[in-house]
C-alpha cells in the first residue's frame, strides 16, 4: 500500500505570529495615545520601563514610515514563518528585545527610537539564509513541486537581496544619512545600527538554531 505524500511545510504553518505582530503594529498606529507609553525612550528605560526595549519597534513616526516598514516585514515574516515556523517565531520574540538592548548599550545618544525596520531587516536576512540553505539541500529543479523546493536559479535572487541589505547599511553608515528613505517629521535621524544589529541577530539565530524545534512541536511524518 502506497503512503500518501506528506503535505508541504508551507501548507501546514499558518503564520499566526507574523499576523499578530502586524495587527499589533497597526493597532498602535490607530491608537497614537499609546505611543508615549511604548516608544523606546532612554530616560524612561533608565526609570525602569524595560518593556520599551521590545515595544518601541512597533511605534512609527508617520504613515509612510509605517507603510514601507510593514510592507517589507509582512512579506519577509509571513514567508519565513511558513517555511521555518519555529525559528521564525523565536526570532519574532527575541529580535525586537535584542535590537532594543543593543541600541541601549551601543548608542547612548539615542534618546528616542521607533520603527520596525530593524526587525524587518532581521526577518528578511533570516529568510534569505533559510532559502539558501534549502536550495543547498535540494539542488535539483523540480517544476512539478515548485513550492516544495525552489529552482537552483533562485540563489542569485537571495544573494542579491543580502547584497542589497549590506549595501544599504554600509551606505547609511558612510553617509550618515538615510539611503532610499526620508522621514516625514523633521528632526528624526536614521539609525543604521538597528539594521546592522538586525542582520547580526538573524545570522546568530540562523547559525545556532538550524535544527531548533521545541519539544512540544509536532513532528511531521512521511
Amino acid at each position: 500500500m502506497k503512503t500518501p505524500p506528506a503535505p508541504p511545510a508551507h501548507a501546514q504553518a499558518f503564520p499566526w505570529a507574523s499576523v499578530s505582530v502586524i495587527a499589533f503594529t497597526l493597532g498602535l498606529a490607530a491608537q497614537p495615545a499609546l505611543a508615549s507609553t511604548l516608544l523606546y525612550e532612554r530616560l524612561a528605560l533608565l526609570r525602569g520601563e524595560y518593556w520599551r526595549l521590545w515595544t518601541g519597534h512597533f511605534v512609527h513616526f508617520g504613515s509612510s514610515h509605517l507603510f514601507w516598514n510593514l510592507a517589507i516585514f509582512t512579506v519577509a515574516s509571513i514567508w519565513s514563518e511558513r517555511i521555518a515556523p519555529a525559528r521564525t517565531r523565536l526570532l519574532l520574540v527575541a529580535a525586537p528585545g535584542l535590537i532594543g538592548l543593543a541600541l541601549f548599550g551601543l548608542e547612548p545618544a539615542l534618546s528616542t527610537y521607533g520603527g520596525l525596520s530593524g526587525v524587518a531587516t532581521a526577518m528578511l536576512v533570516f529568510l534569505c539564509y533559510t532559502q539558501l540553505v534549502r536550495l543547498a539541500a535540494h539542488p535539483t529543479t523540480n517544476k512539478n513541486e515548485p513550492l516544495a523546493t525552489s529552482p537552483t536559479s533562485d540563489r542569485w535572487f537571495w544573494r542579491a537581496v543580502l547584497a542589497l541589505v549590506a549595501l544599504k547599511i554600509g551606505a547609511e553608515f558612510a553617509l550618515q544619512q538615510p539611503v532610499f528613505t526620508r522621514f516625514a517629521p523633521a528632526g528624526i535621524r536614521a539609525v543604521p545600527l538597528a539594521h546592522l544589529i538586525g542582520v547580526l541577530v538573524a545570522t546568530v539565530m540562523h547559525r545556532n538554531l538550524r535544527g531548533f524545534r521545541p519539544r512540544f512541536w509536532p513532528r511531521r511524518t512521511g
Partner: protein, 284 residues
C-alpha cells in the same frame, strides 16, 4: 356727573386691578428690561506668576534653550473659568500648528489640574519635572459679554414676543494672550495676542443659549488670530536670537530621535528583484 362717577366707582374692582398690575410686573421681571448686563471671564499671567508681588524682580540669568525644545502649553487658572473640554480643544488647535518643526521635539497639553491659582514659578517647576518640559506657553484670556435691550424688547410684554423678536443685543469681546516662558531662567521669550468681537441679537427666551454660543465662537476666533500672531512672533524671536546671540543661548541636546526605516525605494528594488525572479522561474 355724580351718577357717572358712582357707576364708575361701582364698576372698579380693587382685587382685579391689583392682579393685573402684579401680572404686568411679574412679566416684566421675567423678560427683564433692566439696563445692560455684563458677564466676565478672565485669567491673568501676572496674577498667576507673581501673586502678591507689586514689583517682581526681573530675571538675571540668560535663558539657555536646548534644541529640540520640549514645550508645554496651558491655560492660566482664572475666575469664572471656561470648561476643560473647551480649553483642550483650543490648546490642541494651537499645538497642532507648531508640531513637526525640527526645533520642537514635543508639545504637551498641560491639564488645568496641574496648575493652581497663584502657583507662580514654583508650580511651573513642578510641571517641568512632571512632564519634562523646558518652555511653557501660558495662555490667558479676558472675555466680557454685554447684553442690552433694544426697541423690540417692548414686544416681550406680549409673552409670545419674548420667543420671536430679537429684543436683546449681545456683544462679546474676547482677548487671548500667549506668553512663552523659559521655566529654568524665568525669562519671557515672546508673547502674542489674539482678539475677537462678536455682536448678535437674541430673543429673551434664548439669551443665555446665545451667550454661550457667542462665548465659544469668540474664543475660537481669538485663537485663530492668536495662532497667526504666535507664528509671526516665533519668527521674530528666531531672528532676534540670530542677531543678538547674547540675549538667548542656544544649545543642542546630546540625545537625538532616531527611526528605523527601510523606505519606498528599498521596497521597490526588492519588488523588482521579485519580479525578475518570477520571470526567470517562468522561463525554466
Amino acid at each position: 356727573m355724580s351718577h357717572g362717577y358712582s357707576s364708575l366707582a361701582r364698576g372698579f374692582r380693587p382685587a382685579l386691578f391689583v392682579a393685573v398690575v402684579l401680572s404686568a410686573l411679574l412679566l416684566a421681571g421675567c423678560f427683564s428690561t433692566r439696563g445692560p448686563r455684563k458677564t466676565e471671564r478672565s485669567s491673568s499671567v501676572v496674577n498667576y506668576l507673581y501673586p502678591d508681588q507689586a514689583n517682581p524682580l526681573p530675571p538675571t540669568s540668560i535663558p539657555v534653550l536646548r534644541l529640540p525644545l520640549r514645550v508645554g502649553i496651558a491655560f492660566v487658572p482664572g475666575k469664572s473659568d471656561i470648561s476643560e473640554q473647551q480649553k483642550t480643544v483650543l490648546l490642541q488647535r494651537v499645538a497642532a500648528e507648531f508640531k513637526g518643526r525640527d526645533y520642537i521635539q514635543s508639545i504637551e497639553l498641560v491639564p488645568s489640574t496641574y496648575l493652581r491659582a497663584g502657583g507662580g514659578f514654583a508650580n511651573l517647576n513642578q510641571v517641568r519635572s512632571l512632564l519634562g518640559v523646558d518652555v511653557i506657553a501660558l495662555v490667558a484670556y479676558d472675555q466680557v459679554q454685554f447684553t442690552s435691550n433694544n426697541l423690540l424688547s417692548l414686544s416681550y410684554w406680549t409673552i409670545v414676543g419674548a420667543y420671536i423678536f430679537s429684543g436683546n443685543k449681545n456683544d462679546t469681546q474676547t482677548l487671548m494672550e500667549a506668553a512663552v516662558y523659559d521655566i529654568p531662567s524665568r525669562h519671557l521669550l515672546f508673547r502674542a495676542p489674539g482678539a475677537s468681537r462678536l455682536e448678535a441679537g437674541a430673543a429673551a427666551a434664548y439669551v443665555q443659549q446665545r451667550l454661550r454660543a457667542d462665548s465659544t465662537a469668540g474664543f475660537d476666533a481669538a485663537t485663530t488670530e492668536l495662532i497667526a500672531n504666535l507664528k509671526l512672533q516665533l519668527e521674530a524671536f528666531r531672528e532676534r536670537v540670530k542677531n543678538a546671540p547674547g540675549e538667548v543661548r542656544i544649545e543642542h541636546r546630546t540625545g537625538y530621535t532616531g527611526g528605523g526605516s527601510l523606505g519606498a525605494c528599498f521596497a521597490s528594488i526588492l519588488g523588482l528583484l521579485l519580479l525578475a525572479r518570477a520571470g526567470v522561474r517562468h522561463r525554466l
